[in-house]
């Protein structure tokens, strides 16, 4: 097996991975950097983020307000030292992107423009029309091209971490074009592999978001934190699941049920605000968890709209007018028109909540370090505990910048004190992965198909781990996922050739998703309370006495995982009531 020696290996070349790579190259030009991704960098799912990125920049705003919005939005499950660091770093990172050429929208005087976003008390979301993530990704990718020390391994599928002496010291990856497995010996590894939304059938997430990075860390012994918190975005296209950005509502779009009622006022987000005059942090600008949950209640009441694509509510943007829609929401107009045949200038568009984002992930601290020495993580795959139980829209694009950079700086510190590697031990570790792949190729007696198991996993997750959950449902889900993980070992490849074998990659991705699904379901079953995006019909209240804690799930091979808890870091904001009832009081 060929060995590639590097100083830092980064898994994933989306926003967080690219930001980390640039920070490494800028800080120490002599560092050898391996940027490894199963897709070409510009295909990474950061490109699909639409609305924008939050950072305090305007005179009427303050770090404290951004802090309070984030902590309250996260239902007090955020680590407050992390949030404090984040809100101070956010504007610096957004300005850095501006200096690298990101085409942010502007005010007439040439300063950056900001827009309102859900759960935010002030306008602080920087945006590039409704393609903010796309522009951030391409700005980072193009900027990275000037650094020769960033050596890219595009379309390398990362397989396993190399762990010896209790430290992460590299990884194995398959060159997808040849099918060859290579090992990377690295003094530090940064995982920036994105989320795992594809474990659900209805998601805004692209096909690549299968939790490979999370699962790799989990298998290597690093805990996954708070995985039960899965964010539903309130406004997805009902057939494809494509995201219609929260900016639709930030710009003034309203949500109505089949009777034309702006039903959010019935769920603690009222009173009603005038149409076309959105008010911050209330009604349509409530947080995503609450707005998605309101849909579920409308569904129970029978006040949703029946469409060929299932039960929906309506997102009405007609009053914004064609000019504003074209200027601020061109992608939304195009998506609704082409995939659903609805022109948002002329008609309301049917939408329903859609799985969008994992608040949980690889447990990291504010330095972006995991409990496994030598392993760092950033972006959606990590749980640095910024987002708590519910992420506010436009915090995650900044998160991947702030903690992508932080991971790089921490990795550099770690390299300075890392002892020499035991090459023989790393080789032995890599050989195990190769054996595992060989075994998969040689298996002939399998009775299970990837497509079949994947479908069962998705159905289980949708039925039992959705917006509202119950003890009985979650027990069923835990048992089903456990069963599917056993059956997974009976999958036989149809395609046993070497070049760009997506039958193989989809099999490996299914394995990753099943690992992540296990952590989601056991965490959800054990958390007997309702907080943020985790809602239990049998435990409808938040329980700070028992659950103001992070769930930590540890992989135990074929056995059920071990669950532990970690206290939330509270510095200055004691758990309180989340109030989205506007300024009427």
């Amino acid at each position: 097996m060929e060995t590639i020696q590097t100083d830092v290996a980064i898994i994933g070349a989306g926003g967080a991975g690219l930001r980390a790579a640039i920070a490494l190259a800028e800080t120490d030009p002599k560092l050898r950097i391996a940027l490894i991704s199963k897709v070409y960098p510009m295909r990474s799912h950061t490109c699909a983020a639409e609305g924008g990125a939050a950072g305090v920049i305007k005179p009427d705003d303050s770090f404290d307000t951004h802090f309070d919005d984030t902590v309250g939005g996260g239902d007090w499950l955020s680590d407050q030292d992390c949030v404090e660091y984040f809100v101070h770093e956010a504007p610096k990172e957004l300005l850095q992107l501006e200096h690298w050429g990101c085409p942010w929208n502007r005010e007439p005087d040439g300063s950056v423009a900001v827009r309102p976003f859900g759960g935010m008390k002030k306008k602080r979301t920087w945006f590039a029309a409704d393609k903010s993530g796309f522009h951030i990704l391409h700005t980072l990718f193009q900027t990275s091209l000037q650094f020769d020390s960033i050596k890219r391994y595009d379309e390398y599928f990362a397989l396993d971490l190399l762990v010896d002496d209790g430290r992460c010291q590299g990884l194995t990856a398959m060159d997808m074009r040849s099918g060859q497995i290579r090992q990377f010996h690295a003094k530090a590894v940064i995982i920036a592999g994105g989320g795992a939304g594809r474990m659900f059938p209805f998601t805004t997430n692209g096909a690549i978001k299968t939790g490979d990075g999370m699962a790799m860390a989990y298998r290597a012994g690093a805990p996954l934190k708070d995985m039960e918190f899965v964010q539903y975005h309130p406004t997805g296209l009902p057939n494809t699941g494509s995201l219609l950005t929260e900016a639709c509502r930030g710009e003034g779009g309203i949500l109505v049920n089949k009777n034309g009622r702006r039903y959010l006022q019935d769920y603690g987000m009222g009173p009603e605000t005038p149409v076309g005059q959105p008010q911050l942090k209330t009604m349509e600008l409530g947080p995503r968890d609450r707005v998605s949950q309101a849909y579920w209640h409308e569904l129970q009441k029978g006040t949703t709209v029946t469409t060929p694509w299932g039960e929906c509510v309506l997102l009405d943007m007609r009053h914004l007018g064609e000019k504003k829609i074209n200027e601020r929401l061109p992608l939304v107009r195009e998506l609704a028109e082409s995939y659903l045949g609805v022109d948002i200038v002329k008609d309301p568009v049917p939408i329903r909540p859609v799985v969008h984002y994992m608040m949980g992930g690889i447990s990291t601290n504010t330095q972006a370090a995991t409990p496994l020495p030598g392993l760092f993580a950033a972006g959606e795959c990590a749980c640095v505990s910024l987002n708590g139980a519910n992420r506010l829209g436009s915090n995650s694009l900044v998160e991947l910048l702030v903690f992508g950079k932080r991971a790089a700086l921490s990795a550099i510190e770690h390299i300075g004190k890392a002892p020499a590697a035991n090459t023989a031990a790393l080789n032995a570790c890599a050989d195990q992965t190769q054996q595992h792949i060989r075994e998969l190729f040689s298996r002939t007696d399998g009775t299970e198909s990837v497509a079949g198991l994947r479908k069962e996993m998705m159905t289980t997750m949708e039925e039992h781990a959705g917006i509202y959950r119950t003890e009985a449902g979650l027990k069923e889900a835990v048992a089903r996922i456990h069963e599917l993980r056993n059956r997974y070992h009976r999958v036989t490849l149809t395609d046993k050739t070497n070049v760009y074998n997506t039958d193989l990659f989809q099999t490996l991705e299914l394995g990753s998703m099943l690992d992540c699904a296990e952590a989601v379901t056991v965490g959800a079953l054990a958390r007997k309370e309702s907080r943020g995006a985790h809602q239990r019909l049998d435990f409808p209240e938040r329980d700070d006495k028992n659950f103001l804690r992070h769930t930590m799930v540890y992989h135990q091979g074929a056995d059920a995982p071990r669950i532990d808890y970690l206290d939330v870091v509270i510095t200055k904001s004691q758990p309180g009531v989340r109030d989205y009832s506007g300024d009427h009081k």
């Binding site: 897709v39 490109c47 699909a48 502007r106 796309f134 692209g206 096909a207 057939n239 050739t497």
Partner: protein, 247 residues
């Protein structure tokens, strides 16, 4: 929702087992509102797990699923079955080497992208602490359209020049060079001109305009190249005809 049985003719090639490519026929029931990518996914899930193609976002922004559909370069996720009443022929993007089935190798494009220096170049960088570079909405509009490129490389498959002469830098990379040249924050045009204003660059383009016709996000690379040609001609006039080299 209306269902229809779709006939697909799909190019297959596996370098492990084939000496040359061939076409495979699939018949698959689809919803009329689906895109070609949905049909391919249904084939992979229900008929043939060995079929290979790239895809991810399913909303025409990641640029993964470029392929020839009935002979035209298209994104499979944005090509609607309702516009294809007959058999649909699906092939890998032309002008790129085929890795396998519908998967092509974009190495040449990736290398050219790097050559045009698609990043902000400043003689003197302003510290972050001094805030943003001011840029008016009007200045933003001068380059915004060219910043929309999703690197799907459909324009390379459409470009007859690129098909003939592989050293041509090509539409997407040149349009990105133009995007940075037009950005009020950038001072790197002179550096880029060494790559761009050459026979491999803008002067290779014969202004067929096919690139702009196939662009799924309306970047209009052809207009970028025309503007660059005009600007480069003006450079030449300044240097050779104006007193003092126009300085």
């Amino acid at each position: 929702m209306k269902e229809r049985v779709i006939q697909l003719e799909v190019f297959r090639y596996n370098p492990d087992t084939d000496t040359e490519g061939h076409y495979q026929h699939y018949e698959v029931s689809c919803l009329e509102e689906w895109v070609v990518l949905d049909a391919l996914n249904k084939v992979k899930e229900t008929l043939d797990p060995t079929l290979n193609f790239r895809w991810s976002c399913h909303m025409a922004v990641c640029g993964s699923c470029g392929m020839m559909i009935n002979g035209e370069p298209k994104l499979a996720c944005h090509t609607f079955l309702r516009n294809y009443p007959g058999t649909i022929r699906v092939e890998p993007l032309v002008h790129f080497p085929v890795e396998r089935d519908l998967v092509t190798a974009p190495d040449d494009f990736m290398e050219k992208l790097k050559r045009v220096k698609p990043y902000i170049i400043r003689k003197q960088k302003q510290p972050i602490e001094q805030g943003e570079y001011k840029q008016t909405p009007k200045e933003l509009l001068r380059f915004r359209q060219y910043s929309m490129c999703i690197n799907c490389t459909l324009c390379y498959a459409a470009c007859p020049e690129y098909g003939l002469t592989k050293h041509f830098i090509g539409p997407a990379a040149l349009a990105l060079a133009h995007r940075y040249n037009q950005d009020s924050r950038d001072q790197g045009r002179d550096e880029r001109q060494e790559v761009v204003a050459t026979k491999e660059g803008i002067w290779e383009c014969t202004f067929v305009g096919a690139c702009s016709e196939v662009c799924p996000v309306h970047v209009d690379p052809a207009s970028a190249l025309q503007q660059m040609k005009i600007a480069s001609s003006f450079d030449w006039i300044k240097e050779h005809l104006l007193p003092g080299g126009g300085k």
